[in-house]
């Protein structure tokens, strides 16, 4: 169905214009607000100690036992090359779940604090400007303004794909960045 047809439909049935709206859970990290599709969020937990995984990239903090399932925990700050902070009692872990071709995949991301739930219509979102072909922009689905604040909507699917290849690229990029610095 084209978007025009959808609009026409919406006009016919009053009050149903929330059809293309999606709810996003937003969280704060280094002063910026990020959003993930709320349907991908399984639960929100406090930070707890993890078991370190050998030879893991530094943004993988380790694995935890989530009611009998082994779930890896990713530090989103180090994933995005942001400044590290000490974990505090308010540090939260958002457990995300996505369907991949290999089946369901569950992973936790460490963020500074959970913020809000917003209903955002797809038509309000803007593509992020393609300034730098950085790996980090790959995780960004779009940008949106809510009450004059910009929210960065993340592509959860990509975020959770810690494919070896991507890891390699990531390592190369960080190596490059470091040498540039």
């Amino acid at each position: 169905m084209t978007s025009a047809a959808q609009k026409a439909n919406n006009d016919v049935v009053p009050g149903s214009n929330s059809d293309d709206e999606q709810q996003y859970l937003t969280f704060i990290m280094a002063g910026e607000e990020y959003g993930v599709d709320i349907l991908a969020v399984q639960e929100i937990r406090g930070w707890e100690a993890t078991t370190v995984v050998p030879n893991a990239p530094d943004y993988i903090k380790g694995v935890i036992n989530l009611r009998g399932t082994i779930v890896p925990i990713m530090d989103l700050r180090s994933r995005f090359n942001l400044e590290r902070v000490e974990y505090s009692p308010v540090t939260v872990v958002i457990i995300l779940k996505v369907e991949t071709e290999r089946g369901e995949r569950v992973m936790g991301i460490v963020v500074d604090a959970v913020s809000d739930v917003h209903s955002i219509s797809d038509s309000d979102t803007r593509n992020s400007p393609e300034l730098i072909e950085d790996l980090n922009t790959e995780f960004i689905r779009s940008l949106v303004s809510v009450d004059d604040n910009m929210i960065i909507l993340l592509d959860v699917q990509r975020l959770l794909t810690i494919d070896k290849k991507i890891l390699n690229i990531a390592d190369e990029l960080t190596a490059d960045n470091e040498s540039n610095d």
Partner: protein
């Protein structure tokens, strides 16, 4: 029919596959010099139930094909025909073909009927063959089919306007039809319903009383009647056939189409041309190609039968409509196939469990419930005086849990004969192909093994057996020249050993040629020329990728792909493989596997802040390091002398890059582990307890981690990683294997 039969499909497929297995093993067990009637019967029964089931569920391709197989079997069973080697071979091909058809149907794909049609024609030829022999009408066959062919084209035009008015059915049941639970009256009633469903349809039944004996001689359970039924309605023959489906084997049923023309000869050609046009409509290439031969075969059959003229069209109609039906089914299937393809992956497997195991489990659960209620009561009114009872209760709970765990694990255990069962056939076919005489001996078929392990060990075993047959065993001349019996022997032996199962594949062939392996390895640059290798090291070379000493690459083996895969598969199951060999006496491959994949006896160790688990089976010993044992080679690689061996010493902190602080090696605790026949010493900070751990997948949410085979959850809820010992040993090779997996 309002019942949704598809819910039973899975059961049907499973039973059919079982039936095919029975057919296969019985066929292989068949001794042609002294045919055992019971074996033939069991083959027949298996074929019969597959046919019946396939018919019930509307898998006409399968039932039609099985029918001809069954007919030949029936003749053998009743002694009308002696079974010959060619028959056994043909039956075995049929089993394979049926297996293919059934798995296609199971996957909701259109079965490939090309092979089935070919085999069917062969069977029909055999079946027709005897009649030709007895009646000596081979010539008439040729004449008959030749004269009929032009007829067929001639009357094709006329037949188009012949009006179908109904059917005349001759129904001559066998005498004991009532004993098989079939009641003719019900069939008539159903037939009547069918007829009256059409507007203006009606039915007339004419009984024949000729065979009726005197009243005094009459047996109450025998059926002496036969009937002629006239159905005056335009119904499909397949609908009528469905009614008589269950009695068609025991009874004589002839269908005749009631038409205006009424001429028998016209009808034959009428049907045949109908059939021909149907084939064109079906637009199926294979079918079109097959048709001419099939029609001829049918005609030959009809001629050979030399029955009353009135009966001939009936036979033609039956066979014609049969093919018509398959053509219909096929064209119908195409859209459904497209619709069903997304659900293809929804294949669920099941295990058959003996009732004893289930009963044991229920008993165990009962005891667990009692313990739980006892503890519950204790907890409600607890004071310190009752600590003793609490501890007793907890002890009981532990025992119950352990027993329950063992019984649940036993459910997954199947006798290894499930994996062995395919080998008689494999060995038979291969030995024929390679022209070697081979006896297969299987020992310990009742040794039980986890189902998952069993599924994964099948292919490596096949590989080993093929290898032994192809490379291990010499051919008969060579054997007799070496003073051995001309028949080679391959022995499959399975037995429990500790917490493991050991499977041996043994041959009494020439043994591994050490010199040749070594030369080949030097040629490939795997070892240098002046290197001295122990026997075990030489044998180990055959597990290298791309290694083959076979002079001739055959389609059986010799390409050097395989042994490395075998070893990798076995390593994935936490198992190991060893070779022993004696020149001139043969070689033995022993596979050692854990009984189950779900639970592991582990030794907990502490390294830095982390707890790791070593599989208990891989631990050789634990010792305290002393300075005198240590030798430093190449800078930071330490080795130690352990009796006759020098073993490398590893620090997990280095291997895993955990960044934890390393302690002084002197006085440190060393766990010596063995994997892939290589020992390695691992420095740990502390030895914790031993316990059974449940293996959890790390890959499910994360990815494969080198040197880690999985994770588990400890009593305090934290995660501990299980160290993959053979992975640690292969550390230097890691880079290579990574490249390979990425390339693949």
């Amino acid at each position: 029919m309002s019942i949704d039969l598809s819910q039973f499909h899975q059961v049907f497929f499973e039973e059919s596959f079982e039936g095919l297995d029975i057919m296969e093993s019985s066929l292989l067990a068949l001794d042609l010099t002294e045919v055992d009637a019971e074996t033939i019967n069991s083959i027949f029964r298996a074929a019969h139930s597959i046919k019946g089931g396939a018919g019930t569920f509307g898998f006409m391709q399968v039932s039609g094909f099985t029918h001809v197989v069954e007919t030949l079997l029936d003749e053998i069973r009743s002694g009308d025909r002696d079974i010959k080697q060619e028959h056994v071979d043909l039956f075995l091909i049929c089993v394979d073909c049926l297996r293919g058809l059934l798995s296609d149907l199971q996957a909701h794909t259109e079965p490939d009927m090309a092979q089935a049609d070919e085999l069917k024609a062969k069977f029909e030829a055999i079946l027709a063959g005897t009649e030709a022999e007895t009646e000596n009408s081979a010539e008439t066959n040729a004449v008959g089919s030749a004269s009929d062919t032009p007829d067929q084209t001639e009357t094709a035009g006329q037949s188009a306007d012949s009006d179908v008015k109904g059917w005349k059915i001759e129904f001559i049941p066998c005498e004991d039809v009532l004993c098989t639970g079939n009641e003719p009256y019900r069939m008539f009633r159903e037939l009547q319903d069918l007829a009256e469903a059409e507007s203006g349809g009606s039915m007339k039944v004419v009984p024949h009383l000729e065979k009726l004996p005197e009243f005094s001689e009459m047996h109450p359970e025998m059926c002496y009647l036969s009937w002629t039924i006239f159905v005056y309605a335009d119904i499909e023959l397949s609908d009528i056939e469905e009614i008589f489906e269950w009695v068609v084997d025991d009874c004589d049923i002839r269908y005749e189409r009631l038409t205006d023309a009424g001429q028998a000869s016209d009808q034959i050609s009428d049907q045949i041309s109908d059939q021909a046009s149907d084939v064109v409509v079906a637009n199926n290439e294979i079918q079109v190609e097959d048709k001419p031969t099939e029609i001829n075969a049918e005609l030959a059959e009809i001629e050979a039968e030399k029955e009353v003229v009135a009966e001939t069209p009936a036979a033609a109609i039956t066979s014609a409509t049969e093919t018509e039906q398959t053509a219909e089914v096929e064209s119908e299937k195409i859209p459904t196939k497209a619709a069903k393809s997304p659900t293809k992956a929804a294949e669920n497997t099941s295990i058959r469990v003996s009732i004893d195991k289930i009963d044991g489990l229920i008993n165990m659960v009962g005891e667990l419930v009692i313990t739980q209620s006892m503890l519950g009561q204790l907890g409600q009114e607890f004071d310190m005086d009752r600590v003793q009872r609490l501890q007793e209760g907890l002890g009981q709970l532990e025992q119950n849990t352990r027993e329950l765990q063992e019984s649940v694990m036993k459910i997954r255990m199947l006798p290894i004969s499930f994996a062995f069962s395919r080998f008689p056939r494999l060995v038979r076919d291969l030995s024929k192909q390679l022209d070697k005489e081979v006896d297969l001996v299987m020992i310990g078929e009742n040794t039980e093994l986890d189902k998952t392990v069993m599924e994964k060990i099948g292919d490596p075993l096949v590989h080993l057996v093929r290898n032994s047959l192809d490379h291990g065993l010499e051919n008969a001349e060579e054997r007799t020249a070496n003073g051995k019996s001309s028949n080679g022997t391959i022995t499959l032996n399975a037995y429990h050993h500790g917490g493991n199962i050991v499977i041996e594949v043994k041959d009494d062939g020439a043994g591994l040629n050490k010199e040749r392996i070594r030369n080949k390895a030097i040629e490939k640059g795997l070892v240098s020329e002046d290197e001295t290798l122990s026997d075990a090291q030489v044998y180990d070379l055959i597990f290298q990728a791309g290694f083959s000493t076979a002079d001739v690459v055959s389609d059986v083996s010799g390409r050097g792909v395989g042994m490395d895969v075998v070893r990798r598969n076995i390593a994935e199951l936490n198992g190991s493989i060893e070779v022993t060999s004696k020149t001139g006496e043969g070689s033995t491959f022993s596979i050692r596997l854990p009984l189950t994949l779900a639970i592991l006896d582990g030794q907990l160790v502490k390294v830095g802040e982390e707890v790791y688990i070593f599989p208990l089976v891989s631990i050789v010993e634990s010792i305290q390091l002393e300075k005198s044992m240590l030798n430093n080679i190449t800078g930071n690689q330490f080795v130690m002398q352990l009796r006759d061996d020098y073993i490398p010493i590893l620090c997990l902190q280095d291997v895993f890059n955990t960044g934890a602080e390393k302690k002084d090696l002197e006085g440190a605790m060393l766990v010596v582990v063995e994997g892939d026949n290589e020992k390695v010493g691992i420095v740990v900070d502390e030895l914790l307890g031993q316990q059974q751990v449940v293996i959890k997948s790390l890959e499910q949410n994360y990815q494969k981690v080198d040197s880690i085979s999985g994770a588990t959850i400890l009593g305090d809820g934290t995660v501990a990683l299980i160290v993959d010992v053979s992975g640690l040993n292969n550390k230097p090779l890691e880079k290579n294997s990574d490249d390979q997996t990425q390339a693949a």
